[in-house]
Each structure stands twice: as structure tokens, then as C-alpha cells.
Symmetry: C2
Subunit: 213 residues, 2 copies
DNA sequence: GCCTAACCTGACCGCACGGTCCGTTTGATT
DNA sequence: AATCAAACGGACCGTGCGGTCAGGTTAGGC
């Protein structure tokens, strides 16, 4: 990479696109256990080409995840302008869980620190969620002791819960999102036994760790 | 194994015990990625000895998990006689989450069908949880549309949620158990969008799958 | 149409894993 | 103390992985 951003050659761009698609599918099916060779085969390219585009399997994973995270950020930003703040938060959680359903990110816990750009993206997502949370609280739709960190952590739960049942109906996660969201409502909430983990958005965002170790 | 159950030789019994302890610790730290060689080293025995006791890595894992599951079953049975049925259920969930915290079982999703004995154990646990659930509902402490399957699925959630935060305080999981349990209360519950997955205890218990694929 | 840098490929390497095997050691029994 | 089946241990094997590289291929400016 002589100049930081030279336009990609046509075939290279094509390959990169199908590589990302294949990687997404393969990671979704097999998690971290997906092998680079399988991804390459699925994309119809050689294994060496994979490593030309991404020097490491982890970098490839990071690229896939980055797409997901940025997508969620964009959605959150859009939802921040919806009138009903409570409904906006619920819709965000719904979308987040739905996408996790397609690509369960929880295996990321076991992957190192991945990319730096990914850390930034996560930070942006965090900020947008903070907006949603504060608006929902101001509207009285969300209990006051919940932080953006709580939301970012809990949004992974429904798909994970469902992942234990073998032939789950495709929308089963909605059941558990419903239960959890009921737990987030101010009505009938009981005091929480533990403080939220490091909620402040500025100082140590990395604390949140969508993907840390 | 000529006779089905001959008493173990003294050294063999000792080794088996330290092997199980080492396996539990190692699986807790590294999940399915724990290697048999590491477990053997930690137990202070040779690798061959491990395979003498358990013909397969999966069998070893199954033995460790069986202990856990049976422990939970015993606890549930004890709690079934407590006067306050709502508190009993909460205490069960508390204990379950706490133990998951020490040994996150969610990696089991990616392990095959494991042992048959484990399937039986899971069935017994399921039955005991059903008792707790029905008592809690009769006492008005648990919303009526919750099944034992829901409980068994949700009891894994708090520890999983917490596993994403790097240096989590040891009791942080209680925060998320609190939120989820609030969502299970009848007070202020909103209708759930999806039916529970195959709750009936008799016909196809395997549906629940603490560990299936 | 030619030239070159960018790109692609698949054989190859080193490594770590699960599992096997057989020579050695050890606990029980007499 | 002698005996022997039971248990041990670690060198060994095959496999599949992430990652490298030398040599062939191609896009695209001229």
C-alpha cells in the first residue's frame, strides 16, 4: 500500500466484495471456527488472495463486524429523531437483536482486541445509544437507573438465549426481548443490586468491550 | 471395563478427582478451546491417563457439566419447599447465574450431543424447575405466560451478558439478573410476541438443549 | 498491441491439537 | 515378598489450521 488510498483495481474490488460476503456468511454459520480456506472457497478465490486483502483472519473478522456496528450506529442516529422515544429504543433493540440473530457476535469475546477502527466505531455506536437512552428516560419509558452500557450489553442477550434451542422459530428472540424490555420499564421496577459498569462515555470507552478479552 | 462397576484403584481415583478439578478450571478459563494437554499438565498427570479415564475430550467435558447440572437440580429440589415461592425462584436463578459465572456453559452450544447421561440429568433439572415455576405463578410472583423452558434459557443470560465486560466486578451479574427478573414479574408485564418454545416437559425434552447443536 | 505494476494462486511451512500405543510403574492380593 | 492385572506416561501419528511465497496472470495507461 504505497499511497494510503489508491483506487482498487477492478478485479481486486470484485474479489474483496465477494470475500466479505463469504466471510460474513461463514462466520455466521460457524463462528470463530470458520476457516480462512473455507471462506476463500466460498468466495471463489484463492486463499492467498484473502491474506492479500486482510493480513490476518482477525482483520477480516474485524471488517465484517465493522459493517454491522456502523449499520447499527446509522439506525440509532435515525431513531433519535422519532417522536416516541420509548418506541424508538425498543425498535433499536429489536433491530439489534434481529441482526445478531443473523450473525451472533458473542464469539467476539474470545477474539483479541481486533482492529483500532473497530474500537472507534464502537465508540460512535455508544454515543448514539446514549442519546436514545436519555430520550427514553426523559419520556418516562425507561427506568432511570439504566445506562447506555446496560443497553449495549443487553441487546446481545435475546439472540444468545435463543441460540440454545435447536430449531428455534425465526422470531423466537422477540419473546425474550419482550421479557427483557419489560424489565427495563420504569413501571414496577425494583432497585438494582449492582451499579452499572463504567457508564461514562468519555474516559474509558473500551470498558464496554463488544469484543474485548 | 470387564465388570460394569469395579471399585477404582486408589491412585486411579485420586487422579480422576484432580483431573476433574483441573478440567473444570481449564474449561472455565478457556472454554472449549482448553486443550487436553493443558488439562493433564494442570492435573499433574500424563495425557494418556486423561484418555484412559475419558475416551474423548467431549466425555470429559460432559462429566464436568454433569456435576454442575446435578448440583443445580439438588438446589432446585431443596428450594421447592421454601414458603415464599417467588423468593425461591429468585434464589434459584441467583445461584444458577452465580455458578455460570464460574463456569460459563454457553460454549456447550457448539459441542455435539455429548453424553446420554447428561441428557437425563438435564431432564431432571427441567422437572425441578417446572415445580419452582408453577409454585411461583400460583403465588402471583411470576407472570403466567412464562414456562420452565423460558427460565432455563434465561438463567444463562446474566453471566453471558457480563462476560463482555473485561474486568467486571464479581457481582455485576446480579444487576442484569435484577433487570431480567423484573421482566418476569406479573406486575406491569406486557404481552409476549412469541410463544414459548415447546414447553411440555414430557414429549421432547431434548428440545430445550442446554447443550445441543 | 505492449508493458508493467498490481493482482491472483495453490503448494508449502510450522504448529498445535485430539487421540493412540506400548514399555514401565504401582497398588492390591496372597 | 512375589505376582500380576490395572494404571500410568509421554513419544508418536494424522489432521487441519493460519500464514507465506515464488511464479503465473491480468488490468489498464500509453
Amino acid at each position: 500500500m504505497p499511497t494510503p488510498d489508491r483506487p482498487l483495481r477492478a478485479d481486486a474490488a470484485r474479489n474483496r466484495a465477494s470475500l466479505l460476503a463469504a466471510a460474513e456468511a461463514e462466520f455466521a454459520e460457524r463462528g470463530l471456527a470458520a476457516s480462512v480456506a473455507d471462506i476463500a472457497r466460498r468466495a471463489g478465490i484463492g486463499k492467498g488472495t484473502v491474506f492479500r486483502h486482510f493480513p490476518t483472519k482477525e482483520d477480516l473478522l474485524a471488517a465484517v463486524v465493522l459493517d454491522r456496528v456502523d449499520g447499527l450506529t446509522a439506525l440509532a442516529r435515525r431513531l433519535a429523531t422519532v417522536a416516541d422515544a420509548g418506541a424508538a429504543l425498543l425498535e433499536f433493540l429489536d433491530a439489534a437483536a434481529s441482526r445478531q440473530q443473523q450473525l451472533d457476535l458473542s464469539f467476539l469475546r474470545d477474539a483479541g482486541d481486533l482492529n483500532d477502527r473497530l474500537t472507534e466505531s464502537r465508540g460512535r455506536l455508544f454515543e448514539e445509544i446514549t442519546v436514545l437512552v436519555e430520550r427514553a428516560q426523559a419520556a418516562g419509558a425507561l427506568r432511570a437507573d439504566i445506562t447506555a452500557t446496560d443497553v449495549i450489553l443487553l441487546m446481545c442477550a435475546p439472540s444468545h438465549v435463543v441460540s440454545f434451542v435447536p430449531d428455534a422459530p425465526p422470531q423466537l428472540w422477540r419473546r425474550y426481548l419482550g421479557i427483557i424490555f419489560d424489565g427495563l420499564r420504569p413501571y414496577g421496577a425494583s432497585p438494582l443490586p449492582q451499579p452499572a459498569p463504567d457508564a461514562a462515555p468519555d474516559p474509558r470507552l473500551d470498558q464496554v468491550g463488544i469484543l474485548p478479552h
